[in-house]
Structure formats: C-alpha cells, structure tokens
C-alpha cells in the first residue's frame, strides 16, 4: 500500500474532514444541504477507492449506498421537506463561527494524536482512515451541539454517521453484514427524522428547537 493508491485514499479521506469544516459555518439551509450532498459524494468516492485498493468488491455496495441514499435521496427529500415546511428562506444565525472553527481544529488535532498513537501497529492506510474518521465524527458532534435548528442537527448527525462508515471501510475485511446494516439503520433513522420534522411542524409551526425547549416538563 504505497504510491498513488495511498495518496489518493489520503486525499479523499482528508477532503471529507475539510467538507465537515465547511458544514460548520453554513447559515442557509439550502447551502447546508448541498454541502452535505458533497460530503456524501466524497465519502462514496473514498469508499469506492478503498474497494479497489483493498480488492474488496463488497465495499462497492457500501459506496453505492452512500452515493444513492446519502448524496441523492436524502438531500432531495430534505429539500422537499424544507420547501413544504416553508422554512427555505430562513437564515440560521451561526454564532461564533471563529470559535467553532478553532474548536473544530482542536478536535481534529486531538483525534490525530489519539488515533495515530494507538494504531502504531496497523497498516498506514487504516491508521490515516481511522484518524480522519474520528475527526469527522467529532466535527459532526460539534455541529450538533452548536446548531439550534432541527434540520441542521440532523445533518450534523448524518455527517457523523459518514465518519463511522469511513472508519468501517478502513478496517480491512470487516464483514458486509455490518455495512449493510449501517446503511439500513441510517435509512430507518431518516424515516424517523422525516416523521419527526412533520410532527414538530404540526405542533409548533417551527422547527426551531428553542421553541421545543420552552415546553420542558418541569420548568412550568
């Protein structure tokens, strides 16, 4: 595992981290969705490259799932939901972009330090992949923490799951069972989310979670 194969794999996994950073500061929902589609696209490319590099045909299935479900179906569906809810013009105030980015950089550094140290024995590609994957997971978490809008939180969660898929493909020869079920659970999760957004809308006429917080059981 060296030369061009390694470099391309490295480039793709690194791009995924970069796109995660781009997700952090998007204030318009449409732009956020487009960047998420890009995120899934980069993931699909990365998994596809791994499939050819590891000579593991089952990974092509995972790449296809990432491409079809996450890069096309989910963004399109969320797009329609946003239109239906009539919140497409909304601009979310992303507070403290500078601070969030700095925190993000800190998280990436943290995951590099942790993962590169503990995986000293593993092969180079798996090490890099795991370190990048953990960065993507942590950045997804950061996004879920900093956003108040239900749609952006969902996107943060899905970018987190993209990181998990990257980690799973980096682990050589991990059985197909898991990847398919990961994909399926994302799908189920998506259905749940869809139902939720509609229900929230039904009740509150907004998907701003601040409104939800006001209904907290014990504060009244």
């Amino acid at each position: 595992m060296h030369g061009l194969t390694f470099d391309v794999a490295h480039l793709l996994a690194g791009s995924l981290v970069l796109v995660s950073f781009m997700l952090l500061y998007q204030s318009r929902l449409y732009a956020l969705l487009n960047i998420f589609a890009l995120h899934a696209l980069v993931l699909a490319a990365s998994v596809g490259w791994q499939a050819s590099a590891q000579d593991a045909p089952h990974l092509y299935v995972t790449a296809a799932i990432a491409l079809i479900f996450k890069a096309i179906i989910i963004p399109v569906a969320l797009h329609r939901i946003i239109v239906k809810l009539g919140i497409h013009r909304q601009i979310e105030n992303v507070v403290g972009v500078g601070l969030t980015m700095l925190l993000g950089i800190g998280l990436v550094a943290l995951s590099m330090v942790v993962m590169l140290r503990v995986t000293a024995g593993a092969d180079a590609l798996a090490r890099e992949d795991l370190a990048f994957a953990l960065s993507v997971v942590l950045l997804g978490l950061l996004m879920m923490v900093t956003r108040r809008n239900a749609v952006s939180q969902v996107i943060g969660f899905m970018s987190l799951e993209n990181g998990l898929v990257l980690a799973a493909t980096g682990a050589r020869g991990m059985p197909l069972v898991v990847e398919i079920s990961v994909a399926f659970s994302v799908l189920i999760a998506f259905i749940v989310i869809g139902i939720f957004l509609f229900r929230i809308r039904e009740r509150f006429d907004t998907v701003d979670l601040q409104a939800l917080d006001n209904f907290r059981g014990e504060r009244r």
């Binding site: 939180q153 998990l164 020869g173 659970s185 189920i188 749940v192 009740r203 939800l212 917080d213 014990e218």
Partner: protein, 479 residues
Amino acid sequence: MSFDALSAILLIPAGAAVLLAMLPGYRLTAQLNVLASLLAFLASVSLFFVTPVSGPYLLVDDLNKVFIVLNTFVGFTTAMFSASYIGHEIETGKLTPRFVRFYHAMYQVLMFGMNLSLVANNIGLMWVAIELATLSTVLMVGIYRTHEALEAAWKYFILASVGIGLALFGTILVYMAAQPVVGEGLNAMVWTVLMTKAQHFDPALLDVAFVFLLLGYGTKVGLAPLHAWLPDAHAEGPTPISAVLSGLLLNVALYALLRFKMLLALNPVAIAPGPLMVTMGLISCLFAAFMLYRRRDIKRLFAYSSIEHMGIIVFAFGMGGPLANFAGLLHMTMHSLTKSAIFFTVGNISQVKGTQKIADMGGLTETHPVLGWGLVLGVVAIAGLPPLGIFMSEFLVVTSTFAREPWLAVLLGLGILVALGGLLLRLNAVAFGEPKGPVGPVHASYVPMFAHLAIVFMAGVYLPPALVTGFENVARLLG
C-alpha cells in the same frame, strides 16, 4: 439453522410484530401481544433445560440466559399491564386505534431487538440490534404527540443516536484490534473467538475502544452525565414503555458493556475497565440521589431513581470479584422487577388522577387502598428497606466494597441514604395525608404488579439455592 428455543425467542416477536401491524381491533391485538410475549418467555425458560448450539451469529451461555429470562418475563408481564392500560387510553381518547396498532407492532419489534442483542454472538450484530431497539422506543415515546412527548422523543433520539454512534466506533476499533490476531472477516467479530484470543490483542487499541464503548453504551445505560434523555423519555411516553425502558432496555445496554469488560479483563496489558465503571457508577448514584428531591413529576421521580440504581449496578460490576458481581446481578434482577412494578402502579395512579404531578395527588391509601399500598410496598422495596430483595443486594454491594475500598463504600452508602430520604418524602406526599384529585375507579389488572412485588419479597426472605448457584456461576464468568 434448525428450529430450537433460540430461534423461537427471535422468531416469535418478529412474527408477532408483522401480524400485529396487519390486524385491526385493539382488544384482539392486545391479547395477541400478551400471548406472543408469553410464548417468548416459555421459550427462554426452556433454554435452561436444553442449551442450543451456538453459531457464529447466535450464542447462549450462562451469562445471557439470566438476561434473556429476565427480559422475556418482564416483557410478558408488561404486555399484560399494557393491555389494560392501553384500553383505558383509547376510552379517554388519548390514543386512536391506529396508533394502538402501531404501538403493539413496535412493542414486539422492541422485544425482538432486545432479545437479538442478548443472544448475538457477533459484536456488529449486537450493535445493530441495540440500535433497532432504540429506534422502536423513540417512536413509542413520541406516540402521544404532545409538546412534551415530541421534545422527549427528539432529545432521546438525538442523544441515543450519538451514543450508539460512539459505540459503533468502539466496535470498529475492537475489530481492528482483533483483526491482526484472528484474521480478516467474520471471525474477528465473534464473541466466542474474541474471548479465546483476547490476550494477544493490541492493548492500546482496546483501551481507546473501551472508552468509546463506555461512553456509547453508557449513554444507553443512563449513566450521569450522559443521562439527559432518560427522565424525559420515561415521563412522556406511555407508562408500559417507561416500565420496559427502566426494567429492560437499560439492562441490555449494560449487558453489552459487561461483555466488553470481560474481553478487556482477559488482556493483561490493557487498562482495567473496573475503575472507570466504578467512577461513573458512583457519580450517577450520587447525582441522581440528590436530584430526587427536586422532582415534581412522579414518573420523572422514578426515572431518576433508575439512574441511581443503574449507577449502583455499574459500580458493583466495576468492583468485580465473585461477591460484588453476584450482588450486581441480584441487584439488577431486583431493580428490573421492582421498578417495572412501580411503573405499573404509577401508570394506574396517573390514569385515575389524570395527571403526573405529585402536588395533585395525595391520600392514595385512603381513596385507592390497593394502588396506594402497592405503591408504598414498591417504594419501600426500591428504597432498599428490609426485608425486601433490594435491601439484600444493596447490603451485599456495600459490605463487599467495605472490605476492599472503605471510602468508596461510604460514598455509595451516602448515595443510597440520600435517595432513601428523597423517595420516602415523596411517597409520604402521594400515599398519605389529605386525599386530592379525582377518586374514580381503577380499570386495571393488579396481577403483574403484585406478581413482581411477591418475587421481590420472596427474594428478600429466601433465595432458592438453585438461583444462588446459577448467579454464582455467572459471577465467576464475569471475573
């Protein structure tokens, strides 16, 4: 795979879920739900007599037998309680028949997910099953579609998803650690294979993996500070689901954690998982004990009590050793039975009173003697007063700790005492004093509630020797 008890405890709930989703009429489906749960329970009891052969996907050993039997038993009694509870919800118009159909199907999906994660011999399969169980409960928590229910379900969904996401990362890391030793492919995810070769795994990877697994599955166990979803989910969903969440789903996540703890214990260089679990358990116990004093909602009160007890159980398993493990197992069993019995009672109470606010209830022992005294008995049991089962298991946890780490035992004892005070204070307000609120008749079956309390009482007075030897075996397995 030939048809045996092992496949039965998976196929019965799966088949029932499909059937219940198609059948109309809540009376019929409620009875079918009870029947399916009873069959699954009978199948799980038969595991004690005929042990099926374990394959690369499914596994039955002494450890998970205990969990499966407890799971299917409480699943069965809760289905009985749920049948009467849901009937009342339809009469009052809180749920429509369509939602009830959905609810019953989801109940069986939940049972399937929990059973599957308990018998899974594959760390990936186990993860998938826990995710399935979580998603089905998310849907049920939000079923009333009120503001509070939606908020609780959303919070539960987000926090639990993040938790299981972290657990998946930990699972992948365990595979990475196993892969150089066991070889690529399926074998590196199979418990029985992992357990034989764990001593050769890369310790650094295992360490990091365990941290992720503890945070991930720990969220599902409800350990502080990852517990934020738990009180809301318990308070806003239908009460049978609160009973299943507290009594069973927390145990399933704990089971996953215990399996990984056993794996790490086999590796001499990896960190000892015990101290981490002891710390989180102790924090949860103390935190939840103090939080009990500020509760105004009766279901939230008992949700915090669940956090406290899960803290004690995780603490006991973290201490390790035959005695503490035995105490942990006993405490887990007693807690599941008692807490679900309490939720059965609380469900009936809140249906009669039309509210969950403690301030609007009072004098239950006068107006509804059976419910009132049932609640008194349940709270006395959960607070750890003699002679009931929880007193014995808490006593064992504290004394076994005293012999090894006196300071930890003092802190744990403090948590238990503080919780006792909080619970009795609230009990006094609800059960005694001036009667408050509506005094309508109760439409519910008392059988499940008193069956559980009778077992807990029995266990406090006399533990059958067969049970003791069984638990001792499992405690030895846990190391």
